[in-house]
Symmetry: C2
Subunit: 120 residues, 2 copies
């Protein structure tokens, strides 16, 4: 098991929340499951640039913290399906707002980043 060297501050709501869903793809995974994309391989395919290994690892963490549930069925091809728990569903309003905010301001972000490149 990996043990952190720097202690985390979990007295702050923000830090707790980010501990749960702050991973690189976690919110995208939750979004995918909500949309009905519930199997690891499919989630992976639905998120450009993600690697299958990270999806697996982040799913495991979401499972650990009770954000998702796993229900495996033994059918072909080996089938694992993930679903949102009530805890996971409670994140959806936040997720939606974050996603919306990001889409509203994506042009601004891209512009700024391009300025940086042209400077250099």
């Amino acid at each position: 098991m990996y043990t952190r060297k720097i202690q985390e501050d979990l007295d702050c709501g923000i830090r707790v929340a980010l501990k749960i869903f702050g991973g690189k793809w976690k919110l995208c995974i939750i979004d995918a499951i909500d949309k009905g994309i519930v199997r690891p391989a499919e989630i992976h395919k639905s998120i450009p640039n993600s690697t299958l290994r990270v999806i697996e690892m982040q799913l495991a963490e979401l499972l650990f913290f009770g954000v998702v549930d796993k229900c495996s069925e033994d059918v072909y091809p080996k089938k694992s399906e993930y679903e949102l728990t009530s805890l996971g569903k409670s994140l959806l309003p936040i997720l939606t707002r974050i996603n919306l905010w990001g889409m509203e301001h994506s042009e601004l972000v891209k512009e700024r980043l391009q300025e940086l490149e042209t400077e250099a």
Copy 2:
């Protein structure tokens, strides 16, 4: 200038949003400024375990993306004050929700993490 090696996907609202406020202390900084703690040294003191250097760097990034504004006054002791722009203020509802969600579930998170430790 530092250039990333792995390309970021900014077509996803979530990723854009996290690019802006996903840093370790960025939301805490925004929260502090909203509360009237507007100077770097004070922000630093208000956030346990944070280092001044990181606060400075993250303030610079928030400035770069237009989330905060800087207004320096030449008084004693050298005074820089940061304030939220309209973009920054538009994050407050999200911030509040995230903070609330985190506080509501902090016990659960702490329990899980302790289970991990006792196992090992």
